[in-house]
Amino acid sequence: MRISILLFAVLTLANCASAPSGDAEALAEHQKINDPGEPTNRFIFKFNQGLDAVIIKPVTSFYRIFPEVLRTGVHNFLNNLKTPVVLINDILQGEAERAGDTVMRFLINTTVGVAGFRDQAADWGFEPHEEDFGQTLATWGVGEGPYIMLPLFGPSNPRDAIGKFVDFFLDPINWWAENSDNDWVPLTRTIIGGIDTRDQLWDVLDDLEKSSIDFYAAIRSLYRQRRNDDISNGTGSKDNETPNFSGDLELADPDDQPSNKSSGKDAGPKK
């Protein structure tokens, strides 16, 4: 963790270096991409890809020998363990209904769902949802800051990285482990959690890598859009609106814009 903080410092310093001057459009683009440490980030991304190829992917492919039912069980179990952190963040965001869902899910899945291996609650209408302190900070109005690629942990930004750090300390399971000298618990959980995440993303990442011409940029865009979707709880916040066609990186010729063609008198079929 100390290393990641150091990394922020380095990347934030690198911030000032590469902003283009003079061209207003180039500057707007630079700000929109908001990845001042891109060369460093790309280097770390390459490192992560290497790590994935050498360790994470082989281990996960071994894990994938197990039937899907079992892997889903593990996934559900890990999700159930996240309950305290999700609940705390539900409350910090003032989401009473979602907090209620989280409690109900825990009660149902821990008992009927056999210690969390079965997501019975979802079948009964209590759908799972994610919350973390990064999202809480976002709802409190904290901006994401520049994009950063963390070694091993992957895409992030200062807000979400701090969020991860805080979530670790919010988690009563970690307090318990600390106080009872069971340090292996958080460690094991992190490792299995990592394998589970890689398993869940197996097809998505494979597909994306094959179909992208700049995998790094595709991941960067996906990460931001997914986070915005999570923050708005899937309702589509202002940041997450599908882009307006006359937005930032505007086309030179307005007649070329699809939205303009259909505006005004053509706004719908006449009945």
């Binding site: 459009e25 683009e29 991409i33 889903t72 979802a122 759908e127 799972p128 097809d203 597909d207 094959k210 179909s211 992208s212 011409i213 700049d214 790094y216 940029a217 595709a218 960067r220 865009s221 996906l222 859009q225 997914r226 915005n228 979707d229 999570d230 708005s232 899937g234 589509g236 997450n240 609106e241 599908t242 882009p243 307006n244 066609f245 990186l249 505007e250 086309l251 030179a252 010729d253 070329d256 814009q257 699809p258 939205s259 303009n260 063609k261 259909s262 505006s263 053509d266 706004a267 719908g268 079929p269 006449k270 009945k271």
Partner: protein
């Protein structure tokens, strides 16, 4: 506070809208209804022609291309994705790029659609904003949460055209734009760099498919 603002703004807009002639409201309803029906019809067509098992990859590509050309504003999207670099591109580059963009989309998405074989699209609700209708749908799977998909539809040249697909909050054109702009930036701001990368990718995809 945020909610208060939203409420106030919504009220203002509501007031403004009620003053504008009611005809535009009727028109807007016709537009959203039409867009929703358009997506519904497209889903049925896709189910019967595309999302079936036992057809070859090349046949799937042919059918997919036909469906794409008829339902998507591919050239509009292609231009938008290029952003400010569209202006910098020469006439030949523009032509070449738009053709490659089409091939690229067909090549990458044919495989993706195969994953949805035998799944049903459920249409939920349609909203409109500016000149676009947003058709909210979901794909229900055997296990796991349903996948949320929003289709952004415009009406132009006398027909409905899809200009974006937003899957679980991830916009297709947004992602494509970030990627393409990144490629251009890393190749000295030249559109020709993107054209090279695209043709190479399409060749790779073709050789791995056959």
């Amino acid at each position: 506070m945020k909610n208060f603002h939203r409420g106030a703004i919504a009220a203002l807009f509501g007031l403004a809208l009620s003053i504008i002639v009611p005809i535009s409201q009727a028109k807007a309803d016709g537009f959203t209804d039409g867009a929703q029906k358009f997506i519904g019809a497209l889903a049925i067509r896709a189910e019967s022609s595309l999302l079936v098992e036992g057809i070859s990859i090349s046949e799937r590509q042919v059918r997919f291309r036909k469906l794409m050309m008829e339902s998507f504003d591919l050239s509009g999207v292609g231009k938008w994705v290029l952003g400010r670099y569209w202006r910098r591109a020469s006439g030949i580059e523009r032509k070449l790029y738009l053709k490659l963009f089409e091939d690229f989309i067909i090549a990458t998405y044919t495989k993706r659609f195969k994953a949805y074989t035998n799944s049903k699209l459920q249409i939920n609700a349609t909203t409109s904003r500016r000149s676009s209708a947003f058709v909210n749908t979901q794909i229900n799977r055997k296990s796991g949460k349903p996948i949320r998909i929003v289709w952004r539809v415009n009406y132009s040249d006398g027909r409905y055209q899809i200009i974006d697909i937003v899957v679980e909050g991830v916009s297709w054109i947004q992602t494509q734009r970030s990627e393409f702009v990144s490629v251009i930036r890393n190749r000295g701001g030249k559109v020709s760099g993107l054209i090279d990368a695209l043709s190479k990718k399409i060749a790779d995809l073709k050789s791995s498919a056959s």
